[in-house]
Symmetry: C2
Subunit: 600 residues, 2 copies
C-alpha cells in the first residue's frame, strides 16, 4: 500500500546540467572528478541504495521508534545493518575532503544524493548528516592531534557525531547556556551539564560517538561571547585509535515525538557521575570563547542540509500522492461528464499536484544552484567570482533552509489532502511524511530565526547590496524570457514580482533603523517573498533551458514541455503571492508593532 | 504542562450581541427563550462543563485510543461517564426541537456552545454531534412511527447516532455505493454491505445506536438517483421502547489514525450473518431513491458543525500557544536589547499569535453570523427576510466549512511553531491539536468538494446573484468604516479586496461555460478568496461595533481597542491575500487545464 520511492534522476540531471552549471564547476580545481559519467554513476547507485535499502526501513522506524533500555538507546530493526552498508559505500564523506577518507565530490553533486537519502528515510539520514557538519567544524578549527584522532572516523562514518547545543532553559537562545568546562592540568577539560534535543545522542550503531558540546569556561564572559566548543567522545580513545573507557556521558531520556520516530532525540547528561569522574572528559576545539563561531560553520552546513531534507521529504510525499491520484478512480469528469475517472483528472486534484511539483522543483533548483555557488566560492581561483558566489550563498542560506522547509509542510499537507480519508489513516503512510516534516521548520533555527538572520544580518547590515545584485540577475532572466516566443507571458509576471520584491526591500531599508519592530514583524513574510521570487526566477531558468533543448535528444520533448508548463504554473499560481506578501510586509508591520491589546 | 481550556466568553458574547444580532433573533417566534440572562447562563455553564469535564479527557483519548475487543469497541477511560453527564445536562438537544426533548435554543446560541465542546475535546464531541444531524433528517423525512420510536432518544442523547455513507470503493463518490436493501413483506428492509470511516459506528457508551445508512433498492436506478436512506438500529427496539435483540450489524475493524484517537472510526458490516438473518433489519426514511436529498440535510448540518470544529480546535491551540509565549523567557528584545524577555515580545512570535487570533475571530464572526441567518431563515415571518437569509446561508455554507477548517490547520501549525522544539514533543500536547485537526478539511466533504459546491452549485448556477447581494452588504460596511476617524485606513483596504473578489466573480461567470476546467482549477483559491474577504468584512463589523462602544461599560476599553487592532491586522496582513488569490485564479486556471506533461 505504501509506495516505494524512485529517485527523480531526470529532474536531478537536468537541474545539475542546465541550471547549476555542473560542467563549469567540474572545471574548477579539485572538482575534476565530477565528470558526466561519474556523476551519472553516483546518482544512479545512490538512487538504488535509497530505494532498495533505506526507503523500506522508513515505516519500520516510524512504527518501532527508539527505546531507552538499561541506559542504552535501541534504534529500530535494520538501522545498524543499513548504516554499515551506507558507510561502507562511502556515502558519509561523499562531499568531504579526500585527505581524511572523503570522496571529495562537489557540493552540487552531493546535494541530490543527500536529497535521495532524506526522501528515502529522513529519520535514518539524520545520523550520517550529523557527521558532515561536525567534520567541517573539526577540519576548520580543531588541533592537529584531534584531527588525527577523530576526523577520518567522522568522515568515513566509522564513528557517529552529534551537536550538543540546546539546554532545557536555553532553547534557541544559546546565550543562556550553562554547561561548564573545567580546564585540567593535562590540557583536557571536565564538562558537566545537561543538554536536550540531541539527535542520535546515543545509539549502538557505531562503536563510538563524537559529541561536539557548547560549554562555558570558568572565567568566560556572560552571553554568547563566553561559549567554547568541546569534543567529548562517548568512549575515550586508546593510543591505537580504538574506543576505550566509557566517558561520563549518558543519555538520560528520549523524547516522544510527533515524527521522525526512528531518530532518537536524547536528553544528555555530561559529568553526571561527577563525584567519581569530575566531569566528562573533553578537549577544546580552536580557541576559548569562539565556540559560537565554529558552531555556525557546522550550523550553516546543517541548515543547508535541512533545506534539502525539506525537498527530499516533499518529493517522497509528492510521488506517493501522484501515484494515488493516477490510480484512484472516483467521480465524473467535470467537463465531459465521463464517469469513473482517476482523480488526477479533477481540476482541483491536478492543481494540488502541480502546486506540489512546482514547489519542489523551485526549491530544488534554488538549492542546487546554491550548492553550485558553494563550490565556486570554495574552489574558484578568481577572487571576484568566488567572493560573489560566497555573498550569494550567505544571503540565500536562510532562504534555502527556511523557505524549502516551509514549502515542504504545504507539500505534505496537500499530499494528505489528495488522499482524502485514506490520508488520515496511518497505514497509508502519507501521514508519516506530514509528521516527520513538522520538525524541519524548527530545528537548526526556526523559520523566524532564519528570517531574522536574512533581514537583520544579511540585508540590513549591508544595506541590501547583495540582494540588489541578485535582483539584477533576476531581471536579466526576465529579459531572456521576453525574447522567447512562448515564454513572453512569464516575463511580465516575473518582472512584476521582482518589482514587488524590490519595493519591499526599499521599505525595509528605509525603516530598518527607526521602525525595526515593524520590519521584523515582516521578516518571515519577507523570507517567503524572496523565496517565492527566487522560485519563479529559478523555474524561469528551467523553462529557458527547456526551450533551448526543444530539439535535443538528451530529454524527451514531453519532459521539456512539462518543465515549461510547470514554470508557467509557478509564475501564475505561486509567484503572484509576491503581491500580497509585499503588501502585508509594508502594510501590517506597524499593526503588529503598535498593537497592545489584541492578544489580551 | 498541557494547558487547560477556558471558554472565550467575552468574545462569544461580543459577537452574539454586536455582530450576530442576538437581540433581534430573540424577538423571532420560537426564539423567545434566548434572553440575555438565559444565554449568559447557558454559555457560562457550558464553559464550566467544557473546561472541567471534557477538556481534561482530551489527552486521555489521544493516548488510549479505542480498541476492538471480542467484537466490542472500547472507548477511552472516562468517555462513558462524561457522556452520561453531557446528555443529562441537556446539551445534546440544545438547538433541537423541544417537541422531542430538545432545548429549542436558536442556532446562534447553540453554535458557541458546540464550539466549546470542540475546543475541549473534539474526539468526544463527534459522538453527540452525530445525533444532531441525524435528528434533523429523521424529523424532516421519517414516518411518524420511526419518529415516535427514535427521535426523542436521539435528541436527548439516550441513544447514539451515526451516518453510514462511505464504502471502500466509493470514497466521496456516493454514486458508487453498493450496499443493498431488500424490501420485506412487513414493510421493513434487509440491508447488506460494507461501510467504512464510520465515526462512533460502535461503542458501549449508549445502550443503543441508530445508524442512518445509504443503500440501494433492488430496482434502483444507477448512480446518485438510486440511493435511499434507511434507519438501522444496533438493537431492534421492543414494544416498550427498550433495546431488544441484536441486529445483524457489527464493527469489523478500527482505523489507526493520525488524530482524533478517542473517536472510534469503524469499518461496519451490515448483514454479514446473511445466511441466518437475511441482512440487517432497517426501515426506509422518507421516499425511495431520495436518500441523497435527505443525506444533504444531515450533511449541511454536519458541515456547519465541522466548520465550528475548526474554530474550536483553533481556539484551543491558540490559548495554549499564547500562554506558552507569555511564559517562555528567551532571547533579547530586538529594539531595546533587553535580555530575558518572554517570547511574545519577539515581533515574529507576536505576528504568529495575532495571525492565529485574527483568523479565529474572523471565522468565528462569520460562523455566528451564518448561524443567525439560519435562525432568521427558519423563524422569520417575513418571507423576503427569511428567503434572503436562506440564500446567504446556502452560499456561505461551503465557506464556513471549507475556509474555517483550512484556517484551523494554519492556526495549529503556528501553535506548534510558537512552541519551537517543545511543539514537536507529544507531552506538550500542542501536536495533538495539529493531528486532530487534519481530518476536518477532509470529512463531510473535502475542501475541494466544498469549493466545487461553491463555484458550481452556488455561484455559477444562479449567475452570481446572491454573491452580488453580499458584495453590496460588504461595500456598505466599507462605507461605514470610511466615516469613522480611526478606521479610515481599513475602508480603503476592504474596498480594494472587495474589488478583487468582484472581478474574480466576473471572470468566473464569463468563463464558467467555455472554460469550466480552468474555472474549477481555481475553485479552492476562490473559496479562500471569498473567505478572506468575508473575514475582513466581519472583522470590520467587529471594529465598528467596538468603536460604537468606546465609552460603554459592558466591555473594557482595552478589550475594545484590542478588537480594533485585530481588525486592522487582519485587513493589512491577511485581507491582502485577496490580491494574489484573485491573480492566481484568473491567471493560473488555463495553466492547470492545459498542462499535459507537467506531472509526467
Amino acid at each position: 500500500m505504501v509506495l516505494n520511492y524512485a529517485a527523480p534522476l531526470t529532474d536531478m540531471h537536468f537541474l545539475l546540467q542546465e541550471v547549476t552549471g555542473l560542467a563549469a564547476i567540474a572545471q574548477l580545481p579539485g572538482c575534476g572528478d565530477a565528470t558526466p559519467d561519474t556523476v551519472a554513476a553516483v546518482l544512479e547507485e545512490a538512487g538504488r541504495f535509497a530505494a532498495g535499502v533505506l526507503a523500506p526501513l522508513n515505516r519500520v522506524g516510524d512504527r518501532e521508534s527508539c527505546r531507552l533500555e538499561d541506559g542504552k538507546v535501541i534504534t529500530p530493526q535494520g538501522w545498524s545493518e543499513a548504516y554499515k552498508a551506507f558507510a561502507e559505500g562511502g556515502w558519509v564523506g561523499l562531499g568531504l575532503s579526500p585527505d581524511y577518507g572523503g570522496q571529495g565530490l562537489p557540493k552540487c553533486v552531493a546535494t541530490p544524493v543527500w536529497e535521495m537519502w532524506f526522501s528515502a528515510n529522513t529519520a535514518f539520514t539524520m545520523l550520517p548528516q550529523l557527521n558532515t557538519g561536525e567534520a567541517e567544524a573539526v577540519l576548520l578549527a580543531a588541533s592537529d592531534e584531534l584531527k588525527a584522532t577523530y576526523l577520518e572516523k567522522l568522515v568515513t562514518g566509522e564513528w557517529g557525531g552529534t551537536m550538543n547545543l540546546t539546554e532545557p532553559q536555553a532553547g534557541s537562545d544559546l546565550a543562556a547556556i550553562r554547561t561548564r568546562a573545567e580546564p585540567q592540568a593535562d590540557g583536557s577539560y571536565r564538562l558537566s551539564g545537561q543538554k536536550i534535543f540531541i539527535s542520535y545522542g546515543d545509539h549502538e550503531i557505531t562503536p563510538n560517538i563524537v559529541h561536539l558540546v557548547l560549554a562555558r569556561l570558568p572565567d568566560a564572559p556572560p552571553g554568547v561571547k563566553g561559549i567554547s566548543m568541546f569534543l567529548v567522545p562517548k568512549f575515550l580513545v586508546n593510543a591505537d585509535g580504538s574506543p576505550g573507557a566509557q566517558n561520563d556521558v549518558r543519555c538520560v531520556g528520549l523524547e516522544h515525538k510527533l515524527g521522525i520516530h526512528g531518530s532518537p532525540t536524547c536528553a544528555m547528561s555530561f559529568g553526571d557521575n561527577g563525584e567519581k569522574s569530575g566531569g566528562a572528559t573533553g578537549w577544546i576545539i580552536g580557541e576559548a570563547n569562539r565556540g559560537l563561531e565554529y558552531m555556525f560553520i557546522m550550523m550553516n552546513e546543517a541548515r543547508f542540509g535541512v533545506g534539502v531534507q525539506g525537498i527530499g521529504i516533499g518529493e517522497r510525499a509528492y510521488q506517493q500522492a501522484l501515484a494515488f491520484a493516477k490510480d484512484r478512480v472516483q467521480g465524473r469528469d467535470a467537463v465531459s461528464g465521463a464517469a469513473g475517472i482517476p482523480i488526477i483528472n479533477h481540476p482541483d486534484v491536478k492543481r494540488m499536484l502541480m502546486t506540489m511539483r512546482a514547489r519542489i522543483m523551485a526549491a530544488r533548483a534554488l538549492a542546487y544552484t546554491a550548492a553550485g555557488w558553494f563550490d565556486v566560492a570554495r574552489h574558484s581561483t578568481d577572487k571576484a567570482t568566488a567572493d560573489k558566489a560566497r555573498r550569494y550563498v550567505d544571503l540565500l542560506m536562510p532562504v534555502v533552509k527556511g523557505w524549502s522547509t516551509e514549502l515542504c509542510q504545504q507539500v505534505c499537507y496537500d499530499a494528505i489532502q489528495v488522499h482524502g480519508g485514506m490520508g488520515f489513516v496511518e497505514e497509508t503512510g502519507i501521514a508519516q511524511h506530514y509528521r516527520d516534516a513538522r520538525i524541519i521548520t524548527i530545528y537548526e533555527g526556526t523559520t523566524g530565526i532564519q528570517a531574522n538572520d536574512l533581514v537583520g544580518r544579511k540585508v540590513l547590515r549591508e544595506n541590501g547590496a547583495t540582494l540588489r545584485e541578485l535582483i539584477v540577475e533576476m531581471r536579466s532572466v526576465a529579459k531572456e524570457l521576453a525574447a522567447v516566443e512562448n515564454l513572453k507571458s512569464l516575463a511580465g509576471r516575473l518582472e512584476e514580482d521582482i518589482a514587488a520584491l524590490e519595493r519591499t526591500l526599499d521599505w525595509i531599508l528605509a525603516n530598518g533603523k527607526d521602525h525595526l519592530a515593524a520590519v521584523l514583524a515582516g521578516a518571515v513574510p519577507f523570507l517567503h517573498l524572496l523565496g517565492t521570487v527566487c522560485g519563479s526566477w529559478q523555474l524561469a531558468r528551467v523553462a529557458l533551458a527547456a526551450a533551448r533543448h526543444a530539439a535535443a535528444e538528451a530529454y524527451s520533448a514531453d519532459y521539456l514541455r512539462g518543465l515549461v508548463e510547470l514554470a508557467r504554473f509557478h509564475a501564475h499560481a505561486l509567484g503572484v503571492q509576491a503581491l500580497s506578501l509585499s503588501a502585508a510586509i509594508v502594510g501590517a508591520g506597524d499593526t503588529v508593532a503598535e498593537s497592545e491589546f489584541a492578544l489580551a
